[in-house]
Protein backbone atom coordinates (compact mmCIF):
# COMPACT_ATOMS: atom_id res chain seq x y z
CA UNK A 1 0.00 0.00 0.00
CA UNK A 2 1.12 3.50 -0.77
CA UNK A 3 2.26 5.37 2.29
CA UNK A 4 -0.01 8.28 3.07
CA UNK A 5 1.74 11.48 3.93
CA UNK A 6 -0.34 13.17 6.63
CA UNK A 7 0.99 16.50 5.42
CA UNK A 8 -1.05 16.10 2.28
CA UNK A 9 -4.32 15.83 4.13
CA UNK A 10 -6.85 18.54 3.61
CA UNK A 11 -7.10 21.20 6.27
CA UNK A 12 -9.39 20.07 9.02
CA UNK A 13 -8.46 16.40 8.73
CA UNK A 14 -6.09 15.17 11.34
CA UNK A 15 -5.97 11.41 11.07
CA UNK A 16 -5.61 8.90 8.30
CA UNK A 17 -8.68 6.66 7.88
CA UNK A 18 -7.78 2.98 7.58
CA UNK A 19 -11.29 1.72 6.69
CA UNK A 20 -11.87 -0.33 3.53
CA UNK A 21 -13.70 2.39 1.58
CA UNK A 22 -11.09 4.93 2.59
CA UNK A 23 -8.39 2.57 1.35
CA UNK A 24 -10.21 1.98 -1.95
CA UNK A 25 -10.56 5.71 -2.38
CA UNK A 26 -6.83 6.14 -1.91
CA UNK A 27 -5.98 3.40 -4.42
CA UNK A 28 -4.47 4.27 -7.78
CA UNK A 29 -7.40 3.03 -9.91
CA UNK A 30 -9.87 5.05 -7.88
CA UNK A 31 -7.76 8.18 -7.96
CA UNK A 32 -7.23 7.80 -11.68
CA UNK A 33 -10.99 7.95 -12.15
CA UNK A 34 -11.86 10.48 -9.45
CA UNK A 35 -8.87 12.69 -9.23
CA UNK A 36 -9.43 13.88 -5.71
CA UNK A 37 -11.71 13.34 -2.76
CA UNK A 38 -14.86 15.37 -2.34
CA UNK A 39 -13.85 18.03 0.12
CA UNK A 40 -15.93 20.79 1.62
CA UNK A 41 -13.35 23.53 1.36
CA UNK A 42 -13.22 26.32 -1.19
CA UNK A 43 -10.38 24.56 -2.95
CA UNK A 44 -12.23 21.23 -2.94
CA UNK A 45 -15.35 22.80 -4.35
CA UNK A 46 -13.41 24.49 -7.14
CA UNK A 47 -11.57 21.26 -7.93
CA UNK A 48 -14.92 19.50 -8.44
CA UNK A 49 -15.55 21.78 -11.37
CA UNK A 50 -12.01 21.74 -12.72
CA UNK A 51 -11.66 17.98 -12.82
CA UNK A 52 -15.08 16.96 -14.06
CA UNK A 53 -15.84 17.29 -17.75
CA UNK A 54 -19.59 17.30 -17.21
CA UNK A 55 -19.40 20.26 -14.87
CA UNK A 56 -17.73 22.34 -17.56
CA UNK A 57 -21.17 23.35 -18.73
CA UNK A 58 -21.09 25.56 -15.66
CA UNK A 59 -18.49 28.14 -14.74
CA UNK A 60 -16.65 27.44 -11.50
CA UNK A 61 -18.31 30.42 -9.85
CA UNK A 62 -21.60 32.03 -10.64
CA UNK A 63 -23.23 35.30 -9.63
CA UNK A 64 -25.19 34.96 -6.43
CA UNK A 65 -28.42 36.20 -8.02
CA UNK A 66 -28.49 33.04 -10.17
CA UNK A 67 -29.29 31.07 -7.01
CA UNK A 68 -32.47 33.08 -6.57
CA UNK A 69 -35.29 30.71 -7.48
CA UNK A 70 -37.82 33.49 -7.81
CA UNK A 71 -35.84 35.14 -10.57
CA UNK A 72 -35.96 32.47 -13.30
CA UNK A 73 -38.14 29.80 -11.68
CA UNK A 74 -35.59 27.50 -13.38
CA UNK A 75 -37.96 27.22 -16.33
CA UNK A 76 -35.22 26.89 -18.95
CA UNK A 77 -33.48 24.26 -16.90
CA UNK A 78 -36.74 22.36 -16.35
CA UNK A 79 -37.32 22.38 -20.11
CA UNK A 80 -33.87 20.88 -20.61
CA UNK A 81 -34.60 18.22 -17.97
CA UNK A 82 -37.86 17.36 -19.71
CA UNK A 83 -35.95 17.02 -22.96
CA UNK A 84 -33.60 14.62 -21.20
CA UNK A 85 -36.54 12.56 -19.90
CA UNK A 86 -38.03 12.54 -23.41
CA UNK A 87 -34.73 11.38 -24.85
CA UNK A 88 -34.44 8.45 -22.45
CA UNK A 89 -38.07 7.32 -22.67
CA UNK A 90 -37.99 7.88 -26.43
CA UNK A 91 -35.05 5.51 -26.77
CA UNK A 92 -36.94 2.92 -24.72
CA UNK A 93 -39.93 3.30 -27.03
CA UNK A 94 -37.71 2.92 -30.10
CA UNK A 95 -36.84 -0.59 -28.92
CA UNK A 96 -40.46 -1.71 -29.07
CA UNK A 97 -41.93 0.33 -31.92
CA UNK A 98 -41.86 -0.23 -35.69
CA UNK A 99 -42.87 2.74 -37.84
CA UNK A 100 -45.06 0.71 -40.16
CA UNK A 101 -48.75 1.12 -40.85
CA UNK A 102 -49.20 -2.61 -40.32
CA UNK A 103 -47.61 -2.85 -36.91
CA UNK A 104 -47.44 0.61 -35.29
CA UNK A 105 -50.85 0.34 -33.66
CA UNK A 106 -50.21 -3.24 -32.60
CA UNK A 107 -46.96 -2.10 -30.96
CA UNK A 108 -48.95 0.48 -29.01
CA UNK A 109 -51.34 -2.26 -27.87
CA UNK A 110 -48.35 -4.36 -26.89
CA UNK A 111 -47.07 -1.54 -24.68
CA UNK A 112 -50.31 -1.85 -22.76
CA UNK A 113 -50.64 -5.61 -22.64
CA UNK A 114 -47.17 -7.10 -22.87
CA UNK A 115 -44.11 -4.89 -22.41
CA UNK A 116 -43.02 -4.46 -18.80
CA UNK A 117 -43.51 -0.83 -17.75
CA UNK A 118 -44.49 -0.18 -21.39
CA UNK A 119 -47.53 1.90 -20.60
CA UNK A 120 -45.64 3.81 -17.91
CA UNK A 121 -42.81 4.68 -20.28
CA UNK A 122 -45.29 5.87 -22.88
CA UNK A 123 -47.18 7.90 -20.26
CA UNK A 124 -43.98 9.53 -19.06
CA UNK A 125 -43.06 10.35 -22.67
CA UNK A 126 -46.46 11.84 -23.33
CA UNK A 127 -46.61 13.91 -20.15
CA UNK A 128 -43.06 15.17 -20.53
CA UNK A 129 -43.93 16.27 -24.07
CA UNK A 130 -46.99 18.20 -22.89
CA UNK A 131 -45.07 19.78 -20.04
CA UNK A 132 -42.13 20.64 -22.28
CA UNK A 133 -44.36 22.67 -24.60
CA UNK A 134 -45.87 24.41 -21.58
CA UNK A 135 -42.56 25.07 -19.83
CA UNK A 136 -40.80 26.32 -22.97
CA UNK A 137 -43.68 28.74 -23.58
CA UNK A 138 -43.60 29.92 -19.95
CA UNK A 139 -39.83 30.34 -20.25
CA UNK A 140 -40.36 32.62 -23.23
CA UNK A 141 -42.94 34.66 -21.34
CA UNK A 142 -40.68 34.92 -18.30
CA UNK A 143 -37.71 36.04 -20.40
CA UNK A 144 -39.84 38.68 -22.07
CA UNK A 145 -41.02 40.18 -18.79
CA UNK A 146 -37.46 40.17 -17.44
CA UNK A 147 -36.35 42.04 -20.56
CA UNK A 148 -33.68 39.40 -21.02
CA UNK A 149 -33.87 39.58 -24.81
CA UNK A 150 -32.16 42.96 -24.90
CA UNK A 151 -28.57 43.64 -25.84
CA UNK A 152 -26.41 41.55 -25.77
CA UNK A 153 -28.89 38.69 -25.62
CA UNK A 154 -30.84 39.45 -28.81
CA UNK A 155 -29.67 36.47 -30.78
CA UNK A 156 -30.15 34.07 -27.90
CA UNK A 157 -33.80 35.13 -27.85
CA UNK A 158 -34.02 34.25 -31.56
CA UNK A 159 -32.51 30.83 -30.85
CA UNK A 160 -34.98 30.41 -28.01
CA UNK A 161 -37.94 31.07 -30.30
CA UNK A 162 -36.53 28.52 -32.75
CA UNK A 163 -36.27 26.03 -29.88
CA UNK A 164 -39.96 26.60 -29.17
CA UNK A 165 -40.76 25.91 -32.83
CA UNK A 166 -38.66 22.73 -32.75
CA UNK A 167 -40.50 21.64 -29.60
CA UNK A 168 -43.82 22.09 -31.37
CA UNK A 169 -42.40 20.16 -34.34
CA UNK A 170 -41.56 17.31 -31.97
CA UNK A 171 -45.10 17.24 -30.69
CA UNK A 172 -46.62 17.33 -34.15
CA UNK A 173 -44.44 14.55 -35.57
CA UNK A 174 -44.75 12.44 -32.44
CA UNK A 175 -48.50 12.76 -32.55
CA UNK A 176 -48.80 10.56 -35.65
CA UNK A 177 -46.69 7.66 -34.43
CA UNK A 178 -49.32 5.70 -32.43
CA UNK A 179 -51.32 5.48 -35.67
CA UNK A 180 -54.69 5.68 -33.98
CA UNK A 181 -57.66 7.81 -35.01
CA UNK A 182 -56.48 10.76 -32.92
CA UNK A 183 -53.08 10.70 -34.60
CA UNK A 184 -54.29 10.14 -38.11
CA UNK A 185 -56.81 12.96 -38.24
CA UNK A 186 -54.79 15.53 -36.31
CA UNK A 187 -51.96 15.04 -38.79
CA UNK A 188 -54.29 14.99 -41.78
CA UNK A 189 -55.68 18.38 -40.73
CA UNK A 190 -52.23 19.73 -39.89
CA UNK A 191 -50.63 18.73 -43.17
CA UNK A 192 -53.58 20.05 -45.17
CA UNK A 193 -52.99 23.37 -43.46
CA UNK A 194 -49.50 23.40 -44.96
CA UNK A 195 -51.21 23.37 -48.34
CA UNK A 196 -52.31 26.98 -47.77
CA UNK A 197 -48.76 28.32 -47.56
CA UNK A 198 -48.46 30.74 -50.49
CA UNK A 199 -46.49 29.58 -53.56
CA UNK A 200 -44.82 26.45 -52.14
CA UNK A 201 -47.70 25.04 -50.06
CA UNK A 202 -48.56 22.15 -52.34
CA UNK A 203 -45.00 20.99 -52.73
CA UNK A 204 -44.32 21.38 -49.03
CA UNK A 205 -47.32 19.21 -48.24
CA UNK A 206 -46.16 16.58 -50.74
CA UNK A 207 -42.73 16.53 -49.14
CA UNK A 208 -44.23 16.16 -45.70
CA UNK A 209 -46.71 13.35 -46.34
CA UNK A 210 -45.00 11.73 -49.33
CA UNK A 211 -48.15 10.55 -51.08
CA UNK A 212 -51.73 11.39 -51.95
CA UNK A 213 -52.86 10.99 -48.34
CA UNK A 214 -51.40 10.31 -44.93
CA UNK A 215 -50.05 6.77 -45.15
CA UNK A 216 -46.96 4.58 -44.77
CA UNK A 217 -44.62 7.20 -46.25
CA UNK A 218 -45.94 9.86 -43.89
CA UNK A 219 -45.45 7.60 -40.90
CA UNK A 220 -41.86 6.84 -41.87
CA UNK A 221 -41.08 10.49 -42.58
CA UNK A 222 -42.54 11.69 -39.32
CA UNK A 223 -40.67 8.95 -37.49
CA UNK A 224 -37.35 9.95 -39.03
CA UNK A 225 -38.03 13.61 -38.24
CA UNK A 226 -39.08 12.74 -34.71
CA UNK A 227 -36.19 10.46 -33.73
CA UNK A 228 -33.31 11.82 -35.81
CA UNK A 229 -33.68 15.22 -37.46
CA UNK A 230 -35.41 17.17 -34.71
CA UNK A 231 -33.35 15.78 -31.80
CA UNK A 232 -30.17 16.70 -33.67
CA UNK A 233 -31.43 20.20 -34.41
CA UNK A 234 -32.61 20.69 -30.87
CA UNK A 235 -29.36 19.45 -29.35
CA UNK A 236 -27.39 21.76 -31.60
CA UNK A 237 -29.49 24.83 -30.86
CA UNK A 238 -29.68 24.01 -27.17
CA UNK A 239 -25.89 23.87 -27.01
CA UNK A 240 -25.62 27.36 -28.50
CA UNK A 241 -28.46 28.58 -26.28
CA UNK A 242 -26.87 27.38 -23.05
CA UNK A 243 -23.40 28.49 -24.05
CA UNK A 244 -24.69 31.97 -24.75
CA UNK A 245 -26.57 32.10 -21.47
CA UNK A 246 -23.27 31.49 -19.76
CA UNK A 247 -21.30 33.93 -21.90
CA UNK A 248 -23.91 36.62 -21.45
CA UNK A 249 -23.57 36.43 -17.69
CA UNK A 250 -26.67 34.46 -16.75
CA UNK A 251 -29.49 36.44 -15.23
CA UNK A 252 -30.02 40.07 -16.09
CA UNK A 253 -29.36 42.50 -13.29
CA UNK A 254 -32.77 44.01 -13.08
CA UNK A 255 -31.81 47.33 -11.66
CA UNK A 256 -29.26 48.12 -14.29
CA UNK A 257 -29.75 49.77 -17.65
CA UNK A 258 -28.56 47.44 -20.34
CA UNK A 259 -25.42 46.28 -18.50
CA UNK A 260 -24.30 42.82 -17.82
CA UNK A 261 -21.40 41.50 -15.85
CA UNK A 262 -19.39 39.12 -17.88
CA UNK A 263 -16.36 39.61 -15.68
CA UNK A 264 -18.21 38.31 -12.69
CA UNK A 265 -18.83 34.93 -14.19
CA UNK A 266 -15.63 34.24 -16.03
CA UNK A 267 -12.09 34.01 -14.83
CA UNK A 268 -11.13 37.03 -12.78
CA UNK A 269 -8.60 39.32 -14.40
CA UNK A 270 -5.09 38.22 -13.64
CA UNK A 271 -5.81 34.58 -12.87
CA UNK A 272 -3.19 32.52 -14.59
CA UNK A 273 -4.46 29.40 -16.36
CA UNK A 274 -1.11 27.73 -15.79
CA UNK A 275 -1.76 27.43 -12.09
CA UNK A 276 -5.02 25.66 -12.74
CA UNK A 277 -3.46 23.14 -15.08
CA UNK A 278 -0.59 22.53 -12.70
CA UNK A 279 -2.96 21.80 -9.88
CA UNK A 280 -5.02 19.62 -12.19
CA UNK A 281 -2.10 17.59 -13.42
CA UNK A 282 -0.76 16.68 -10.03
CA UNK A 283 -2.86 17.95 -7.19
CA UNK A 284 -1.19 15.69 -4.69
CA UNK A 285 2.22 16.91 -5.78
CA UNK A 286 1.39 20.46 -4.88
CA UNK A 287 -0.76 19.37 -1.98
CA UNK A 288 -2.29 22.31 -0.23
CA UNK A 289 0.60 24.63 -0.96
CA UNK A 290 -0.25 25.84 -4.46
CA UNK A 291 -3.60 27.49 -4.18
CA UNK A 292 -5.79 28.00 -7.21
CA UNK A 293 -5.79 31.62 -8.06
CA UNK A 294 -9.46 31.50 -8.95
CA UNK A 295 -10.15 30.61 -5.37
CA UNK A 296 -7.81 32.94 -3.62
CA UNK A 297 -9.29 35.94 -1.89
CA UNK A 298 -9.63 38.84 -4.22
CA UNK A 299 -7.16 41.00 -2.32
CA UNK A 300 -4.29 38.81 -3.33
CA UNK A 301 -4.93 39.34 -7.04
CA UNK A 302 -6.01 42.88 -7.50
CA UNK A 303 -8.20 44.81 -5.20
CA UNK A 304 -9.25 47.40 -7.70
CA UNK A 305 -10.51 45.01 -10.37
CA UNK A 306 -13.26 43.44 -8.29
CA UNK A 307 -14.64 45.67 -5.60
CA UNK A 308 -17.39 43.24 -4.53
CA UNK A 309 -17.24 39.48 -4.78
CA UNK A 310 -20.81 38.63 -5.72
CA UNK A 311 -20.09 35.06 -6.78
CA UNK A 312 -20.53 31.65 -5.20
CA UNK A 313 -19.21 28.23 -6.12
CA UNK A 314 -21.26 26.30 -8.68
CA UNK A 315 -20.38 23.14 -6.84
CA UNK A 316 -22.29 22.54 -4.69
CA UNK A 317 -24.69 25.48 -4.59
CA UNK A 318 -26.08 25.70 -8.13
CA UNK A 319 -25.48 22.03 -8.89
CA UNK A 320 -27.45 20.76 -5.92
CA UNK A 321 -30.28 23.17 -6.76
CA UNK A 322 -30.32 21.92 -10.32
CA UNK A 323 -30.29 18.27 -9.33
CA UNK A 324 -33.13 18.88 -6.88
CA UNK A 325 -35.16 20.73 -9.51
CA UNK A 326 -34.51 17.86 -11.94
CA UNK A 327 -35.65 15.33 -9.34
CA UNK A 328 -38.75 17.40 -8.65
CA UNK A 329 -39.55 17.60 -12.36
CA UNK A 330 -39.12 13.85 -12.69
CA UNK A 331 -41.35 13.28 -9.67
CA UNK A 332 -44.12 15.46 -11.11
CA UNK A 333 -43.92 13.72 -14.48
CA UNK A 334 -43.91 10.27 -12.89
CA UNK A 335 -46.86 11.20 -10.70
CA UNK A 336 -48.89 12.34 -13.71
CA UNK A 337 -47.84 9.24 -15.64
CA UNK A 338 -48.92 6.89 -12.86
CA UNK A 339 -52.25 8.64 -12.41
CA UNK A 340 -53.24 9.45 -16.00
CA UNK A 341 -52.60 7.17 -18.96
CA UNK A 342 -51.87 8.40 -22.45
CA UNK A 343 -54.92 7.82 -24.64
CA UNK A 344 -55.05 5.28 -27.46
CA UNK A 345 -58.08 5.43 -29.68
CA UNK A 346 -59.10 2.93 -32.33
CA UNK A 347 -56.85 2.05 -35.24
CA UNK A 348 -56.44 4.84 -37.79
CA UNK A 349 -59.24 4.61 -40.32
CA UNK A 350 -58.93 6.82 -43.42
CA UNK A 351 -62.66 6.45 -44.09
CA UNK A 352 -64.01 7.68 -40.76
CA UNK A 353 -63.28 11.04 -39.15
CA UNK A 354 -63.96 10.86 -35.41
CA UNK A 355 -66.09 13.37 -33.53
CA UNK A 356 -64.78 15.69 -32.27
CA UNK A 357 -61.47 15.86 -34.14
CA UNK A 358 -59.56 18.05 -31.73
CA UNK A 359 -55.97 19.14 -31.98
CA UNK A 360 -53.70 18.83 -28.93
CA UNK A 361 -54.17 21.71 -26.51
CA UNK A 362 -51.23 23.79 -27.75
CA UNK A 363 -52.75 23.87 -31.24
CA UNK A 364 -56.32 24.32 -29.96
CA UNK A 365 -56.00 28.11 -30.20
CA UNK A 366 -55.01 27.75 -33.82
CA UNK A 367 -57.95 25.43 -34.42
CA UNK A 368 -60.24 28.00 -32.82
CA UNK A 369 -58.90 30.65 -35.19
CA UNK A 370 -59.38 28.28 -38.13
CA UNK A 371 -63.03 27.84 -37.25
CA UNK A 372 -63.55 31.58 -37.68
CA UNK A 373 -61.33 32.76 -40.51
CA UNK A 374 -60.05 31.71 -43.90
CA UNK A 375 -57.31 29.04 -43.62
CA UNK A 376 -54.77 31.31 -45.29
CA UNK A 377 -55.37 34.02 -42.70
CA UNK A 378 -55.94 31.91 -39.61
CA UNK A 379 -53.60 29.03 -40.39
CA UNK A 380 -50.69 30.73 -42.10
CA UNK A 381 -50.65 34.52 -41.91
CA UNK A 382 -51.66 35.03 -38.28
CA UNK A 383 -49.47 32.34 -36.67
CA UNK A 384 -46.69 32.97 -39.18
CA UNK A 385 -46.83 36.69 -38.45
CA UNK A 386 -46.81 36.06 -34.71
CA UNK A 387 -43.74 33.83 -35.01
CA UNK A 388 -42.01 36.43 -37.19
CA UNK A 389 -42.70 39.20 -34.70
CA UNK A 390 -41.40 37.00 -31.89
CA UNK A 391 -38.24 36.21 -33.84
CA UNK A 392 -37.59 39.87 -34.61
CA UNK A 393 -38.70 41.17 -31.22
CA UNK A 394 -35.23 42.18 -29.96
CA UNK A 395 -34.62 44.13 -33.16
CA UNK A 396 -38.02 45.84 -33.07
CA UNK A 397 -37.90 46.78 -29.39
CA UNK A 398 -34.66 48.82 -29.28
CA UNK A 399 -35.25 50.25 -25.81
CA UNK A 400 -32.21 49.11 -23.76
CA UNK A 401 -33.91 49.52 -20.38
CA UNK A 402 -34.91 46.31 -18.57
CA UNK A 403 -36.98 47.99 -15.83
CA UNK A 404 -40.70 47.33 -16.17
CA UNK A 405 -41.58 50.94 -15.45
CA UNK A 406 -39.53 52.07 -18.43
CA UNK A 407 -41.00 49.69 -21.02
CA UNK A 408 -44.71 50.00 -20.48
CA UNK A 409 -45.69 49.91 -24.16
CA UNK A 410 -43.79 46.72 -24.93
CA UNK A 411 -45.19 44.99 -21.84
CA UNK A 412 -48.74 46.13 -22.59
CA UNK A 413 -48.62 44.92 -26.22
CA UNK A 414 -47.05 41.59 -25.32
CA UNK A 415 -49.54 41.04 -22.49
CA UNK A 416 -52.41 41.72 -24.87
CA UNK A 417 -51.17 39.19 -27.43
CA UNK A 418 -50.45 36.67 -24.67
CA UNK A 419 -53.95 37.11 -23.28
CA UNK A 420 -55.48 36.55 -26.73
CA UNK A 421 -53.42 33.39 -27.24
CA UNK A 422 -54.35 32.05 -23.79
CA UNK A 423 -58.05 32.81 -24.27
CA UNK A 424 -58.13 31.16 -27.69
CA UNK A 425 -56.34 28.12 -26.32
CA UNK A 426 -58.68 27.84 -23.34
CA UNK A 427 -61.76 28.16 -25.55
CA UNK A 428 -60.42 25.65 -28.08
CA UNK A 429 -59.40 23.18 -25.39
CA UNK A 430 -62.25 23.33 -22.92
CA UNK A 431 -65.26 24.91 -24.59
CA UNK A 432 -65.51 23.04 -27.87
CA UNK A 433 -67.28 19.76 -28.50
CA UNK A 434 -68.45 17.73 -31.51
CA UNK A 435 -68.78 19.77 -34.69
CA UNK A 436 -66.76 22.49 -32.94
CA UNK A 437 -69.95 23.52 -31.15
CA UNK A 438 -69.65 25.62 -28.02
CA UNK A 439 -70.08 23.49 -24.91
CA UNK A 440 -69.64 24.20 -21.24
CA UNK A 441 -66.61 22.24 -19.99
CA UNK A 442 -68.43 20.99 -16.91
CA UNK A 443 -71.07 19.17 -18.98
CA UNK A 444 -68.65 16.90 -20.80
CA UNK A 445 -64.93 16.94 -21.31
CA UNK A 446 -63.56 16.31 -24.77
CA UNK A 447 -59.95 16.90 -23.88
CA UNK A 448 -57.51 14.08 -24.24
CA UNK A 449 -53.95 14.38 -23.13
Amino acid sequence: MVEIDPNKLEPGRTSVDHGLTARIKRSDPWRSAFRHAQIDTPRGRALQSFSNVFLHVYPVKIPKRVLNLRYSLRLGFIAAVLFGILLVTGIYLMFVYTPSVGSAYGDMQNLKTGVGFGQLIRNVHRWSAHLMVLVVALHLVRVFYAGAYKKPREFNWVIGVMLLLITLGFSFTGYLLPWDQLAYWAVTVGTNLVHYVPLVGGRLQDLLIGGPQVGQNTLLRFYALHVAVLPMLLALMLTVHIWRVRKDGFAVERTSVGTFSEAATERPAGAAPAAESMALAAPELYGGRVRLLGVVDRESITEAARPVDDTVFTWPHLLVRHVVVALGTAAVVLGLAVLFSAPLRGLANPNLTPEPAKAPWYFAGLQELLSRFDPLVAGILLPGGAVLVLLLLPYIDRNPDTRASHRKVAIALFSLLLAIAVILTVIGTFFRGPGWQFIAPWTHSYIEF
Binding site: N110, V115, G116, I121
Partner: protein, 165 residues
Protein backbone atom coordinates in the same frame (compact mmCIF):
# COMPACT_ATOMS: atom_id res chain seq x y z
CA UNK B 1 -28.58 17.84 15.37
CA UNK B 2 -25.64 20.02 14.54
CA UNK B 3 -24.81 21.24 11.05
CA UNK B 4 -22.17 18.67 10.31
CA UNK B 5 -24.20 15.61 11.28
CA UNK B 6 -27.21 17.01 9.42
CA UNK B 7 -25.11 17.36 6.29
CA UNK B 8 -23.72 13.84 6.74
CA UNK B 9 -27.23 12.44 7.11
CA UNK B 10 -28.41 14.21 3.97
CA UNK B 11 -25.38 13.07 2.03
CA UNK B 12 -25.97 9.46 3.09
CA UNK B 13 -29.63 9.76 2.15
CA UNK B 14 -28.71 11.02 -1.30
CA UNK B 15 -26.32 8.15 -1.86
CA UNK B 16 -28.94 5.59 -0.82
CA UNK B 17 -31.73 7.30 -2.78
CA UNK B 18 -29.54 7.65 -5.85
CA UNK B 19 -28.60 3.97 -5.70
CA UNK B 20 -32.24 2.95 -5.33
CA UNK B 21 -33.28 5.15 -8.24
CA UNK B 22 -30.57 3.71 -10.47
CA UNK B 23 -31.73 0.25 -9.41
CA UNK B 24 -35.33 1.13 -10.27
CA UNK B 25 -34.25 2.50 -13.65
CA UNK B 26 -32.24 -0.63 -14.36
CA UNK B 27 -35.15 -2.87 -13.39
CA UNK B 28 -37.47 -0.83 -15.62
CA UNK B 29 -35.09 -1.24 -18.52
CA UNK B 30 -34.79 -4.97 -17.95
CA UNK B 31 -38.55 -5.44 -17.72
CA UNK B 32 -39.20 -3.33 -20.80
CA UNK B 33 -36.69 -5.10 -23.02
CA UNK B 34 -37.29 -8.65 -21.76
CA UNK B 35 -38.77 -10.60 -24.67
CA UNK B 36 -42.50 -11.14 -24.48
CA UNK B 37 -43.47 -14.59 -23.26
CA UNK B 38 -44.62 -16.40 -26.38
CA UNK B 39 -47.56 -18.71 -25.90
CA UNK B 40 -46.33 -21.06 -28.62
CA UNK B 41 -44.25 -23.65 -26.77
CA UNK B 42 -43.50 -26.62 -28.94
CA UNK B 43 -46.10 -28.66 -30.64
CA UNK B 44 -46.16 -32.44 -30.91
CA UNK B 45 -45.10 -33.38 -34.38
CA UNK B 46 -45.94 -36.66 -36.03
CA UNK B 47 -42.91 -37.31 -38.19
CA UNK B 48 -43.93 -40.56 -39.90
CA UNK B 49 -44.28 -44.33 -39.55
CA UNK B 50 -41.62 -46.36 -37.77
CA UNK B 51 -40.97 -48.23 -40.99
CA UNK B 52 -39.80 -45.07 -42.76
CA UNK B 53 -36.76 -44.78 -40.48
CA UNK B 54 -34.41 -47.59 -41.53
CA UNK B 55 -31.58 -48.76 -39.28
CA UNK B 56 -28.53 -46.49 -39.19
CA UNK B 57 -30.07 -43.70 -41.24
CA UNK B 58 -31.10 -40.16 -40.45
CA UNK B 59 -33.97 -38.01 -41.70
CA UNK B 60 -34.06 -34.24 -41.44
CA UNK B 61 -37.41 -32.84 -40.28
CA UNK B 62 -37.46 -29.15 -41.10
CA UNK B 63 -40.71 -28.53 -39.21
CA UNK B 64 -38.93 -29.29 -35.95
CA UNK B 65 -35.43 -28.28 -37.01
CA UNK B 66 -34.24 -31.71 -36.03
CA UNK B 67 -32.93 -35.05 -37.26
CA UNK B 68 -34.78 -38.28 -36.66
CA UNK B 69 -32.06 -40.90 -36.45
CA UNK B 70 -32.30 -44.62 -36.16
CA UNK B 71 -29.05 -45.71 -34.54
CA UNK B 72 -28.88 -49.43 -34.09
CA UNK B 73 -32.71 -49.52 -34.04
CA UNK B 74 -32.99 -46.88 -31.34
CA UNK B 75 -34.92 -43.78 -32.45
CA UNK B 76 -33.67 -40.34 -31.44
CA UNK B 77 -34.84 -36.85 -32.33
CA UNK B 78 -31.69 -34.70 -32.37
CA UNK B 79 -31.90 -30.93 -32.33
CA UNK B 80 -29.93 -29.47 -35.23
CA UNK B 81 -28.49 -26.90 -32.83
CA UNK B 82 -24.90 -27.54 -31.80
CA UNK B 83 -24.67 -27.54 -27.98
CA UNK B 84 -21.40 -25.62 -28.31
CA UNK B 85 -22.51 -22.28 -29.80
CA UNK B 86 -25.70 -22.98 -31.69
CA UNK B 87 -24.60 -23.58 -35.28
CA UNK B 88 -26.67 -25.87 -37.48
CA UNK B 89 -24.89 -29.23 -37.40
CA UNK B 90 -25.07 -30.93 -40.81
CA UNK B 91 -24.85 -34.68 -41.37
CA UNK B 92 -21.70 -35.75 -43.19
CA UNK B 93 -22.50 -38.48 -45.69
CA UNK B 94 -18.91 -39.57 -46.21
CA UNK B 95 -18.08 -40.16 -42.55
CA UNK B 96 -21.59 -40.99 -41.38
CA UNK B 97 -21.34 -38.53 -38.51
CA UNK B 98 -22.72 -35.15 -37.51
CA UNK B 99 -19.94 -32.60 -38.02
CA UNK B 100 -20.26 -28.97 -36.99
CA UNK B 101 -18.54 -26.65 -39.47
CA UNK B 102 -18.23 -23.75 -37.03
CA UNK B 103 -15.72 -25.08 -34.52
CA UNK B 104 -15.22 -28.70 -35.51
CA UNK B 105 -17.34 -30.59 -33.00
CA UNK B 106 -18.12 -34.13 -34.22
CA UNK B 107 -20.91 -36.41 -33.01
CA UNK B 108 -21.79 -39.98 -33.91
CA UNK B 109 -25.12 -40.94 -35.49
CA UNK B 110 -26.88 -40.97 -32.12
CA UNK B 111 -25.55 -37.49 -31.37
CA UNK B 112 -22.94 -38.62 -28.84
CA UNK B 113 -19.88 -36.47 -28.46
CA UNK B 114 -16.73 -37.66 -30.22
CA UNK B 115 -14.41 -34.67 -30.47
CA UNK B 116 -14.27 -30.88 -30.55
CA UNK B 117 -15.10 -28.06 -28.13
CA UNK B 118 -18.73 -29.02 -27.49
CA UNK B 119 -19.56 -29.62 -23.80
CA UNK B 120 -21.79 -32.66 -24.45
CA UNK B 121 -23.58 -34.62 -27.12
CA UNK B 122 -26.37 -33.20 -29.27
CA UNK B 123 -29.56 -32.27 -27.46
CA UNK B 124 -32.62 -34.50 -27.90
CA UNK B 125 -36.37 -34.17 -28.02
CA UNK B 126 -38.60 -36.80 -26.51
CA UNK B 127 -39.76 -39.45 -28.97
CA UNK B 128 -42.89 -41.52 -28.34
CA UNK B 129 -44.71 -44.12 -30.38
CA UNK B 130 -48.42 -43.74 -30.89
CA UNK B 131 -49.30 -47.01 -32.50
CA UNK B 132 -47.16 -47.07 -35.60
CA UNK B 133 -46.58 -43.28 -35.66
CA UNK B 134 -43.42 -41.64 -34.42
CA UNK B 135 -44.35 -38.53 -32.42
CA UNK B 136 -41.83 -35.93 -31.24
CA UNK B 137 -42.68 -33.54 -28.43
CA UNK B 138 -40.75 -30.38 -29.36
CA UNK B 139 -41.69 -28.57 -26.17
CA UNK B 140 -39.11 -30.45 -24.10
CA UNK B 141 -35.46 -30.30 -25.11
CA UNK B 142 -33.27 -32.59 -23.04
CA UNK B 143 -29.54 -31.98 -22.72
CA UNK B 144 -27.48 -34.41 -24.76
CA UNK B 145 -25.42 -37.30 -23.26
CA UNK B 146 -22.24 -36.38 -21.42
CA UNK B 147 -18.93 -36.36 -23.26
CA UNK B 148 -17.97 -39.87 -22.13
CA UNK B 149 -20.97 -41.65 -23.64
CA UNK B 150 -19.86 -44.04 -26.35
CA UNK B 151 -22.86 -46.37 -26.61
CA UNK B 152 -23.39 -46.01 -30.33
CA UNK B 153 -19.85 -45.20 -31.41
CA UNK B 154 -18.78 -46.87 -34.63
CA UNK B 155 -15.66 -46.21 -36.74
CA UNK B 156 -16.13 -43.50 -39.38
CA UNK B 157 -17.35 -44.69 -42.73
CA UNK B 158 -14.90 -42.49 -44.60
CA UNK B 159 -13.17 -39.12 -44.65
CA UNK B 160 -14.54 -36.28 -42.58
CA UNK B 161 -16.36 -33.42 -44.29
CA UNK B 162 -14.57 -30.78 -42.23
CA UNK B 163 -11.08 -32.20 -42.56
CA UNK B 164 -10.76 -33.78 -39.14
CA UNK B 165 -9.94 -37.29 -38.17
Amino acid sequence: MDDKSRRDFLRGGWKLGGALLIGAAGYTGYEALRPLASGAGGAKITVGKTSSFATDTNTYVSAGRMYIVNANDYLFALSQKCPHLGCHVPYCESSGRFECPCHGSIYDLAGEYITGPAPRGMDRYEVTLEGDNVVVDTSVLKAGPARGAKTFLTPPKGPSCIGKA
